[in-house]
């Protein structure tokens, strides 16, 4: 799904690096702070990172006749916010570009922006707003995750369209063409990913809810209520 090596001409690949690098650096700062101040979240951080690893390796066939994979970034965005998610995404994207020839080093900036920053950022904002509005926690996780996944591919389409405007339709014309490939393939995958993440979050609430309170994902009264409905 990632933009292939060498497929973004100048100046686009540099632009996406310039936008992504500050977020990654801020994420590393946040990550350092989190790990040194709250040792107890480290296992959960590992789960969020591993989740991105697993989901982005699953190439799932879709109704459009092509395959794509989920991003797995929604969970990390909800738990740790978009900047830390960007750092985790860099690790996964580096693995895939160095060992699998998927994505690439020159397109890393663009791929980190779509998968690690834009999708997670929208998901994070959605989650916070919806949880303030009192939406059911699992429904919220489901929607936020599906949005993170889908936004990633909409942004990828936009990145390609900006670099390859078509002769007739311009940027908008190519955006439609790229979005037709990515966004429609991704709709069923995004729904699937949202459902899976909601289920994993249920188990986290069950066995390690204090960390969620610690991370400001849920208030303690919300946890008590969720646990009551589980009985």
């Amino acid at each position: 799904m990632h933009i292939f090596e060498g497929f973004l001409p100048s100046p686009w690949w540099q632009i996406w690096f310039v936008i992504s690098i500050p977020v990654i650096l801020y994420g590393m700062y946040q990550l350092n702070k989190l790990v040194s101040e709250r040792r107890e979240v480290v296992p959960l951080l590992a789960v969020a990172g591993a989740f991105i690893f697993v989901l982005s390796s699953l190439k799932l066939p879709s109704v459009t006749g092509s395959s794509s994979h989920p991003t797995g970034t929604g969970m990390s965005a909800i738990l740790f916010g978009p900047a830390i998610t960007a750092v985790l995404s860099v690790i996964v994207l580096l693995y895939q570009s160095l060992f699998l020839a998927h994505g690439g080093l020159t397109t890393l900036g663009a791929n980190v922006f779509s998968m690690g920053i834009a999708g997670p950022f929208v998901a994070f904002m959605f989650y916070k707003a919806a949880s303030k509005a009192g939406m059911n926690f699992y429904l919220n996780v489901f929607l936020a995750t599906a949005i993170a996944d889908w936004v990633t591919y909409v942004v990828t389409s936009l990145q390609l369209a900006l670099a390859f405007p078509s002769a007739e339709g311009g940027v908008l014309g190519s955006f439609t063409a790229f979005a037709a490939v990515f966004a429609t393939t991704q709709v069923p995958l995004a729904i699937m990913e949202g459902a899976l993440t909601a289920l994993i979050m249920k188990y986290v609430v069950q066995i390690k809810s204090d960390v969620l309170v610690d991370l400001n994902v849920l208030t303690s009264s919300a946890v008590t209520k969720l646990k009551e409905t589980m009985q």
């Binding site: 390796s57 699953l58 879709s62 109704v63 991704q186």
Partner: protein
């Protein structure tokens, strides 16, 4: 309704959309969407040549690529299983 049942239903629906995809696109090999995007680039700008070749390791074939993808998934799954199990054991010990 239990969340597990809802997720189960979504998984079944996902399988159904895949089977429908197979029926609707009988000739498709279900290649990657990134490959399809490459075709779109080729139709917009037929002269475009990737200006940078990969410097990473290129899997020598589909089989090795599957191996590396499986390793990636297995590595992640082990960590998730370990941590969830660790938390569960800890919460039961309390």
């Amino acid at each position: 309704m239990k969340l597990e049942y809802i997720v189960g239903i979504i998984v079944i629906l996902f399988a159904v959309q895949f089977l429908y995809g197979v029926a609707a696109n009988p000739d498709s090999e279900f290649g990657g969407a990134d490959g399809a995007a490459e075709d779109v680039i080729a139709s917009i700008n037929p002269d475009y040549e990737p200006w940078f070749g990969g410097i990473g390791f290129e899997p020598p074939g589909g089989e090795t690529e599957s191996l590396l993808f499986a390793l990636q998934a297995a590595f992640g799954a082990v960590i998730i299983g370990y941590v969830i199990g660790y938390y569960k054991g800890k919460s039961e010990a309390n």
